[in-house]
């Protein structure tokens, strides 16, 4: 079975690396980018099945990027999971009202992340990786 492709949009390279190690271990094909431009480009090149999007990207509104990704032909079918930190009420409201499919709070455990990824892919009808 073809492994599922996951795009990670995260500006912290260490976090990116950890997510990559964790998800690769479960058979996912990983792509990591650090900003919105790279994300759009990468998703056009290889459409992902799921996108992990950091809420606190520098110089970028993650909620707005999420909306844009949901409109892009290459990514509109992909599940978007917002990776958040401790949220203020205003931020929480924005996240809840966003077009994201799920949210995971940082710092997350590998199993916690894997469970959410699995759930999102299940909802899409695409089972998890290997």
């Amino acid at each position: 079975m073809k492994s599922k492709r996951i795009l990670v949009i995260e500006d912290d390279p260490v976090t990116c690396e950890v997510i990559q190690v964790v998800l690769e271990d479960f058979g996912f094909e990983m792509m990591t980018v650090q900003d919105a431009e790279q994300a759009l480009q990468a998703s056009r090149d290889a459409p992902p099945d799921l996108i992990l999007l950091d809420l606190t990207l520098p110089d970028c509104d993650a909620v707005a990027l999420c909306s844009r990704l949901k409109q892009e032909p290459s990514t509109r079918d992909a599940a978007v999971v917002l990776m958040t930190h401790q949220l203020s009420e205003e931020e929480l409201s924005r996240v809840v009202n966003s077009e994201a499919d799920a949210q995971v709070s940082k710092p997350f455990s590998p199993l916690g992340l894997l469970a959410i990824v699995h759930e999102c892919l299940q909802r899409q009808g695409t089972p998890t990786g290997s």
Partner: protein
């Protein structure tokens, strides 16, 4: 060291995460990943350190759960409860924590606040997510086990993997147990919700009953449905009635205390307008006599059923109730009647105490065998002195005797019988037969002292010649090297030495700066000292911040010393040492002194 191709995916992942965390020691996500991976690998210490770092700044439910599990593993139940409490403050419906808390309740009494949380149970979404998490964990553990088995097959005879396979099997079993416990949690949740609904319904009915006292009688006549559910702590085996438990109806022994309810009491309560505590009554029909109703000035016709539809009451399973009752009955220990142990037996056999030495008190009623032994052991204290100089000694009563200074005692004219003292005595006149010229001159009778002989030191007892160890052990080295290498494969083990009691290093695998000379001194000086504490120990473990030193006696003459760095898996090390010890013993048998 095993090559990359001989490492499992988990081990490779662990190495990657270690490398990441070395570069960024404060990255919480990296630390969490490292901790979880190490925990799954059985490296609890490494996991604990990583979790502690994370929990300094963050609060993560999974980290608290793992900490609680580790505390429980070491018997630190209060610390485990503390972690659990913190976790439940964050996520009261965390299913894995509920399962763990039930396990913890077998070891210790849980505080009331945690019991209440357990009673509330977990939500369906939480349970669904937990099932996904556990399924993922299970599949990861399963893969780890499969990889280990494959590697073990490729390295036949290497016992190192046996430990990890056993540990992996345990973790797999645990995953499956927790998964199966989720069904119990689900059932408990359903029962809890059903009970809440029932409580609300009863509350509504109470309010209505308070408004319509007569109607309350009908409420009381409704049998109380009993729902069997699982105890929040005891799993499916401990079933009880929710309503009774909720209303505090469990006595200390766990028996449901049924209070006798009379129809008069119900009516009186209803007349007085008190809210009926329906819950407090056992499920039985209260028959109201018409006379009582008249007494209450209530027309029977006014009594209307509160419920539009009769309640569907599930029959209470009598067997279960009976079983509960049986379980709840105070247990009477049936001790096997044994004859009282006589004092004499105690004293003789030392059976009741381990430490005091066995001793035998003399008994007047000793049997013939013991009497014989006693006869033989009697010591004849009569001194049979041979008379020697007794007769020639001065009378002690005479002045000048040996005991007093005074005039010299007079000796008898008659010389005492000659005493052959072995000293040559030259007679006063000696005829040599050689003529007068050459004859010895007359000399007075004197004692001639023997010529002093030069003192010759007694020959020193033969000192045991040091055994030629290199010759003794040479034919054994081939077998020993393989065994030493097996031990050295254990992760974080830096050196392994095999020495004999006299400090001779027979074989070694050294990856650090500790030389064999130092170890030789160490074993000579340490073993006898340590043996003063324990005569036949299997292990001595010296632990310090830098690592551990494990001394294991192979036999009464040979010792294995294993040195591990920080993070060395002592469990794995011990397992491997236990496995290879008989092999060492067998190989070393010819070199073992009688």
């Amino acid at each position: 060291m095993r090559g990359t191709e001989q490492k499992t995916t988990l081990e490779l992942k662990l190495e990657k995460l270690r490398s990441i965390c070395e570069k960024s020691p404060d990255n919480a996500i990296g630390l969490l990943a490292l901790a979880e991976t190490a925990f799954r690998r059985g490296l609890r210490l490494e996991a604990l350190e990583a979790y502690q770092k994370v929990l300094k700044d963050e609060s993560v439910a999974e980290a608290h759960l793992c900490m609680a599990q580790m505390y429980r593993h070491h018997g630190l139940y209060q610390e485990a409860i503390s972690e659990l409490r913190t976790l439940f403050e964050m996520e009261p419906g965390y299913p894995e924590a509920h399962v763990f808390a039930r396990e913890l309740a077998r070891d210790t009494v849980l505080p009331q606040d945690i019991e209440e949380i357990l009673l509330a149970g977990c939500g369906n979404d939480e349970l669904a997510l937990a099932r996904v998490r556990l399924s993922i964990a299970r599949s990861l553990v399963l893969r780890e086990g499969q990889e280990l088995v494959a590697i073990q097959d490729a390295n036949a005879g290497d016992p190192t993997f046996g430990y990890y396979i056993c540990e992996t099997r345990k973790r797999l079993t645990y995953c499956e147990e927790v998964l199966s416990q989720l069904a119990v949690l689900e059932e408990a949740r359903r029962a809890y919700l059903a009970d809440l609904d029932r409580q609300r319904q009863i509350e509504r009915e109470r309010q209505r009953a308070a408004e319509q006292p007569a109607a309350a009688v009908a409420v009381a006549s409704q049998p109380e449905p009993e729902h069997e559910t699982t105890s929040p702590l005891g799993g499916s085996s401990e079933q009880y009635t929710v309503a009774a438990a909720e209303s505090g109806f469990f006595s200390e022994e766990g028996q449901v205390e049924s209070q006798p309810v009379s129809a008069e009491a119900v009516v009186e309560q209803a007349v007085q307008g008190e809210a009926l505590d329906v819950n407090a009554h056992p499920a039985e029909t209260v028959e109201v006599e018409p006379t009582q109703l008249e007494h209450a000035h209530i027309e029977p016709a006014q009594v209307e059923p509160v419920h539009g539809e009769p309640l569907q009451v599930e029959p209470v399973q009598e067997e279960i109730v009976q079983e509960e009752m049986v379980q709840a009955l105070p247990v009477e220990l049936e001790l096997e009647a044994k004859p009282p142990v006589s004092e004499e037996v105690n004293q003789t056999a030392g059976a009741l105490w381990d430490d005091p030495p066995v001793y035998v008190l003399p008994s007047q009623e000793t049997g013939p065998e013991l009497a014989t032994v006693q006869d033989e052991m009697q010591v004849d204290l009569t001194l049979h002195l041979t008379p020697t100089l007794e007769g020639s000694l001065p009378d002690p009563d005479q002045p000048g005797g040996l005991w007093e200074d005074g005039p010299v005692a007079r000796y008898e004219e008659t010389p005492p019988p000659s005493l052959d003292l072995g000293i040559p005595v030259t007679p006063a006149y000696y005829d040599s037969g050689l003529g007068d010229d050459l004859a010895h001159p007359l000399v007075e009778e004197t004692f001639v002292e023997p010529e002093p002989q030069p003192v010759v030191e007694a020959p020193v007892a033969a000192v045991p010649v040091a055994r030629n160890f290199s010759e003794i052990y040479a034919p054994l080295l081939a077998g020993l090297d393989g065994l030493i290498q097996t031990l050295a494969k254990t992760r974080s083990v830096s050196s392994v030495f095999l020495l004999n009691r006299e400090g001779y290093a027979i074989a070694e695998q050294v990856k650090d700066s500790i030389g064999r000379d130092r170890l030789s001194e160490f074993i000579v000086e340490t073993v006898s000292f340590l043996e003063a504490f324990a005569t036949a120990p299997q292990y001595w473990v010296l632990e310090c911040a830098g690592g551990i030193v494990v001394i294991q006696s192979v036999d009464s003459y040979h010792y294995l010393i294993t040195i591990g760095q920080t993070g060395a898996n002592f469990g794995a090390l011990r397992y491997t040492m236990d496995r290879v010890r008989p092999n060492f013993e067998q190989v070393l048998q010819p070199a073992c002194p009688a």
